[in-house]
Symmetry: C2
Subunit: 114 residues, 2 copies
Amino acid sequence: MNPTIFFKALADETRLRCLLLITHSDELCVCELMAALEEAQPKVSRHLAQLRKSGLLVDRRQGQWVYYRLHPDLPSWANTTLQETLEAQISWLEQNLTQLERMKNRPDRLTACN
Amino acid sequence: MNPTIFFKALADETRLRCLLLITHSDELCVCELMAALEEAQPKVSRHLAQLRKSGLLVDRRQGQWVYYRLHPDLPSWANTTLQETLEAQISWLEQNLTQLERMKNRPDRLTACN
DNA sequence: ATTAAATATTTGTTAAATCGAATATGCGAT
DNA sequence: ATCGCATATTCGATTTAACAAATATTTAAT
């Protein structure tokens, strides 16, 4: 993992929030991220694709949903950076996590989304 | 320290190399960084000014020279990121450090530079 | 007061990143 | 086959970032 590519990936607020949410939650699908971030679908999808192409994320399709998690082979300095940043920015992310939980607890949902 | 501003600062190769060299050497002046990076003066100066304005560096003028070091109040997650990245990228920086030592050992120099 | 060295800033240009809107694709259910 | 939902991609426009070249500023030395 090239450090410049890595930090470029974290240099956009939407991408950083995606990464921290995924670091926190292990695995999230696009619609969960949309709900957490309150951002439009093409925007989230575009940034996730960019993170995948840069080697920070991997995706897994399950039915209609695509789940993203951190690339399993990230070097330790990259994992440490994400972990430290997450811990320091929990309050920064709390609103997003609340949105995510609210969506997950909706009585009318069958799976993670809809 | 806003994480997006911080990572934007690290997202450019010249700035990242400046930061890692300074993290390694504690304090460096502009001409030392120029020699280490083999980059033109306005380019180095411009990026250093940006890092200062973003709150990552502080400067100290001593005679004709301006020395830059890490801002003393950086949060720990930021320091950890720089330290971890430096340790992982020492080989990446070795060429620059060699250039720096070569300059410092020139018999015709009176001070750090010229 | 002049000169030279170190550093900073301005200017104009070019390249890169981001975005919203629209459209396309993939999958499951009927 | 077709409909609806989740996701991806394209397009055009706008903004932002980086650069080289030229010029300005600051300081020390004479």
